[in-house]
């Protein structure tokens, strides 16, 4: 359970997160959209901190903000020359709204049922003031999750092959094998 000033931070970060993600999907300029996404991801990192997942929060900032978003910006620079889209939503807008409303309502129903029956109460985690989160992650990751960890390195290898195969330019293809 969050208590004290954490509650304040939780609502602040959640609202920021929702606000920035709305801006992300409604921005007409792709670069602005990417920048708003950075703000969203930083808010999510803050939420991870509140959950005492310090390592994940750090990864969120290092990988997503430092890596993925830079890549996004590169891609945007690669394709567009600063054009803004005229209409961002297509004619599927009505269907989108309907599906989103349905999903929102079902989440509301599901979560209120869980709250009414106090289902999660039993599974509440113990809290410590000083956490050794990264160490815990390490011990779990390198013992229990050793197999997915190695598979993940294969995924990364395939990502390298994919990038090289799809994005070499003609000159590089001509000179190198």
């Amino acid at each position: 359970m969050l208590k004290g000033i954490e509650v304040l931070f939780f609502y602040l970060l959640s609202l920021l997160c929702i606000f920035f993600s709305m801006l992300t999907i409604s921005a007409r300029n792709a670069v602005h959209s990417a920048l708003f996404l950075i703000s969203t991801l930083i808010s999510v990192a803050g939420l991870f901190l509140l959950l005492h997942a310090e390592f994940v929060a750090g990864v969120q900032i290092l990988v997503y903000v430092g890596g993925v978003l830079v890549l996004f910006l590169f891609v945007i620079m690669l394709v567009s020359s600063g054009q803004t889209t005229r209409r961002i939503f297509t004619n599927q807008f009505a269907i989108g709204v309907a599906v989103a409303t349905l999903l929102g309502l079902s989440f509301f129903a599901a979560i209120s049922q869980v709250q009414a029956t106090n289902y999660f109460r039993a599974r509440e985690a113990k809290q410590e003031v000083v956490t050794k989160n990264t160490e815990k992650v390490g011990l779990q990751l390198y013992t229990q999750a050793v197999l997915p960890f190695e598979i993940a390195s294969l995924v990364l290898l395939v990502a390298i092959v994919a990038a090289v195969r799809l994005a070499r330019d003609r000159k590089q293809e001509k000179i190198f094998n």
């Binding site: 013992t143 997915p148 294969l154 395939v158 094998n177």
Partner: protein, 527 residues
Amino acid sequence: MLAYFQAFPSLRDTLLLMPELQITLFACFALVLDVILPKEKKRLAARVSLLGVAFSAASIALLVYQYSDSLPQKAFYDMYVLDGFSLFFKALFLLAVALSIGVTIKYLDLEKEQTSEYYSLMLFSIAGMMFLTSSHDLISIYVSLELITLPVYVLVGYFKRIPKSNEASMKYFLLGAFSSGILLYGFSLLYALTGQTNIEAIAQIVPEIIKTGSATYLLLLAIILIAAGVLFKMAAVPFHSWAPDAYEGAPTSTTAFMSVAVKSASYVLLARLFFEALPSAGSVGSVPGWTQLLGVIAAVTMTIGNIAAATQTNLKRLLAYSSISHAGYLLLGAVAGNEVGYTGIAVYLVAYTVMNLGTFGVIISITRHDEGDAASSERNTGEHIKDLNGLVKKSPAIALMMLVFLLSLAGIPPTAGFMGKYLLFAGLIKNGTDWMTKLAVLGVINTVISFYYYSRLIRVMFIADLTEERPLTVGKSLQTVLLISALLTILIGIYPQPVIKISESAIKQFGNISDKASGVVPKLNND
């Protein structure tokens, strides 16, 4: 020092992993070959890949020999499990990739782009599938799933200077990434509900949730999200819209690989998640569970797939819609939820692998390139129905084999496709519920519809006049693939007992659970 060594997962754990390790090793090897070999020698990589498949198959045989009496074997902190189910599907995936490699050699020759990366990516994808069959934990399931799909995105857009291929790859990638996200969301809800990622542990806790009724809506939501992710991978309606475009735009050899291997993998995913982790959620208390959900999806998928296929003129697009309808038939086995239905899924997947790869092999054999037309989007001739015109006059053998494959796809005896369909429908009827019997009738009606468009192909092959005089050039590799596929298709049709027997032993572990799935009160596990 001794403590260090004791911390190792034992040698046995690594030995269990042998088939996957060999495929991975050979995939890396094929990748390195790509930069070492000069351009004209890259065909060697195909042989190396086949060698890898052979090694892997041999170690599967050894594992069967060693452990057939003491299955399931668990390893890597229960993340990995070797059971009859995983051994069966590992062998199936190896068969699929071996046949795909044979088809690919010929296709890449046609495209004059014989590169080793293609084989390497295919092997990586297969390694992912083999990891998936043995994954017994949501985390390893998800990571293996990514290893399956990521190479396929590249294979779909492999010819990067062809706009159609790019478009196909882009569509598949965007929607695929989106669906992985939805699947992951479902996983996270499941974890929130159970506090476990292990499949077995989840299977123990879920009945408790259903019994107490404390979080049934959240459970239903998790099931729906997971189902959406899985149904996307198998191209079931309403998540099918990517399939026709991706199948048509992709290189034909990739289409063949995708339509059999990736599709089978999605049923492995279905089995691990629904038959093994959530068998008790077939119906959630008084509300319908995934049995009813999949029933509706199966009915819609079969019908829409068949009706749309009937109007197509492009062969690859037609087969894409036909593969959508096959996804629907296969779901019937899951709906039936009994041993016959599950056996039906396994048998049908074997049949589908050989007959569909054979069909794509024939399409590749009639593919030609019109020189000097490389940039246009319609550069491949041989993808249109009229390219089959009078095939029997050019090559009676190939026309005959195509006939076998098409009859099998339509489910006409005595072919493999008939055996599969028979078991799937029989499973539904054996279950006996009123709506399931109706669903089986709908399946039979759909088979009749599908015969309409398959017979159209047969007609042009045997009756229409030749429109394209150039002779066929069937390579040695393609010939072998066609021969093996045709023989297996007929063999399974005539003498299905061995395949059915192996399939039964593969799904045995779901068999006793399935009684619970059909509405009987689940056994409780209080721990």
